[in-house]
Amino acid sequence: MNWEFIMKYLPLYEKAAVLTVRIGVMGVVIAIIVGLICAAIQYYKIPVLKHIVGIYIELSRNTPLLVQLFFIYYGLPKIGIRTQADICGVAGLAFLGGSYMAEAFRSGLEAIEPIQAESAMSLGMNRYQMMRYVILPQAMSISIPAFIANVIFLLKETSVFSAISLMDLMFTAKDLIGMYYKTTESLFLLVVFYLIILLPVSIVGSILERRLRYAGFGA
C-alpha cells in the first residue's frame, strides 16, 4: 500500500464523494416527493391518473437504472431534449426511486385496516384529522423499514453515474487505475469512501427501525 499516493489523491476522492452525495441526496428527495404523489393517487384511486401511475411503477421497477440513464442521456437528445449530465443523474435516480418509494408508502397505507378509518369517522373526525392522527402515524411506522432500504438502495445505485461521464467515486477510481495502475490504493479509497457515505445511513436506519417497531399497533 502506497500511502503517499493515497494522500495525494485523497482530495480528488473527496470532490467525487461530494458529487456522489449531492446527486444522490437530490435524487432521493425528488424520489420521495414523486413516491408520495404516486402513493396518494393510488390510495385515493383517482381515475386515469391511477392507471398512468401503475404503468410508470411497472416500467421503472422492471428496468435497470443504467439503461434508464442511457436512454435519458444519449437517447432523449436525439428528439431535442438535451440536459446536463448531473441533471440526467438526478432525473434518472428520481425516475427509478419514485416507484420504489411509492410502493413503500402504498404498502404502509394498505396495511391499515378499514376499521381504523371507520372508527375515526364515527368519532367525528374529518378526513384531514383522520389522516393526520389515525392513518398516517400507523402507516409511517410500517413503511419505515422499506423506506430506509430504498434510501440505501438509491445511494448505492449512484455508482452507475460514471457511465454518463459524471466524475463520481467510480469514475475517479477507474481513472486512477487507468492512469497510474495503482489498483490496490485506488480501490481501497473507493471502498473507504463508500463506507463513509453508506455506513451512517445504514446504522441510523437500523436504530430508527428498532425504535419504530415499538410504535407498531397490534404487532
Binding site: E58, N62, T63, P64, F70, K78, I79, Y194, L198
Partner: protein, 224 residues
C-alpha cells in the same frame, strides 16, 4: 422525419444481436441465482445458529457485501483481485463471481428474515405435541418459511437481471454494449438511432423482468 432508430433496429441482424446480448445477461444471472440460492439458504440457516463467532464473521461478510454498490464489488474482483493475486479473470467470470457473492448475501438475509418471522409459539406448540426437532422443522417451520421465501427469491432473480446491466462497465459484451456497437456502426446513415435503440434495450429489459415480477406478486398474494 429523420430515422429515430426503428430502421436501424430492423436492418440486418440487429434485433437478433440485441436479444443475443440480453441472452448473455440472462445466462449470467441464471447461473448466479442457481448457485446463490442454496448457498444463501445454508448461510441464512447458519445465521440462526447460536454460535456467536460464526455469527459475527458471517455478519461482517454479509453486511459488507450488502452495503457496497455492486459496481464496487465488480471492480474489486475484476481489477483488485486480479492485481492482488495475479490470476486472470474474464469479465464474464468476474461478474458471475460477484453475482454469486452478492446473491448469496441477499438470499441469506431473506432466509434469516423468513425464519425469524415464524412466531416462537410455532416451535413451542410442536414441541408440546411431542414432535422431534427434525419433525418440527420438516412439517412446521420449513413449509411456512418457504411460502414467504419463494416470492422473495423470485424477486431476487429480477434484481439480478437488472444488475447485470452493470457488467458493461467491466467490458462484457451484453445488451448495452451491443446497442452501442449498433449505434456506432450506423452513425453516418442514421445519427439519431440512439433514441430508438436505447428505447428498445429499455423495453427488452422490461419484457425480461416484468413477467417474473408478476409471478412473484401473484405468489405473494396467494400464499399470504
Amino acid at each position: 422525419m429523420p430515422d429515430l432508430g426503428l430502421e436501424v433496429l430492423l436492418k440486418g441482424k440487429n434485433m437478433i444481436r440485441l436479444i443475443g446480448g440480453l441472452g448473455v445477461a440472462l445466462r449470467i444471472s441464471l447461473i448466479s441465482v442457481l448457485v446463490s440460492i442454496p448457498l444463501g439458504i445454508l448461510l441464512g440457516a447458519l445465521m440462526n445458529w447460536k454460535n456467536p463467532i460464526t455469527k459475527a464473521i458471517l455478519r461482517v461478510y454479509l453486511e459488507f457485501i450488502r452495503i457496497m454498490p455492486q459496481m464496487v464489488l465488480l471492480f474489486l474482483v475484476y481489477f483488485g483481485s486480479t492485481r492482488a493475486f495475479g490470476w486472470e479473470l474474464s469479465g464474464e467470470t468476474a461478474s458471475i463471481i460477484v453475482f454469486i457473492l452478492w446473491g448469496t448475501a441477499e438470499m441469506s438475509d431473506l432466509v434469516r428474515g423468513a425464519l425469524s418471522s415464524i412466531p416462537k409459539h410455532q416451535y413451542e406448540s410442536s414441541e408440546a405435541l411431542g414432535l422431534s426437532k427434525v419433525q418440527t422443522y420438516w412439517y412446521i417451520i420449513i413449509p411456512q418459511t418457504l411460502r414467504r421465501l419463494i416470492p422473495l427469491s423470485i424477486n431476487l432473480i429480477t434484481r439480478m437481471i437488472k444488475t447485470t446491466s452493470l457488467i458493461l462497465m467491466i467490458g462484457v459484451v451484453e445488451v448495452l454494449k451491443v446497442a452501442q456497437q449498433i449505434i456506432e456502426a450506423n452513425r453516418m446513415s442514421s445519427p439519431n438511432a440512439a433514441f430508438g435503440i436505447y428505447l428498445a434495450v429499455f423495453l427488452l429489459y422490461f419484457l425480461a423482468c416484468w413477467p417474473i415480477s408478476l409471478l412473484a406478486k401473484y405468489l405473494e398474494k396467494r400464499w399470504k
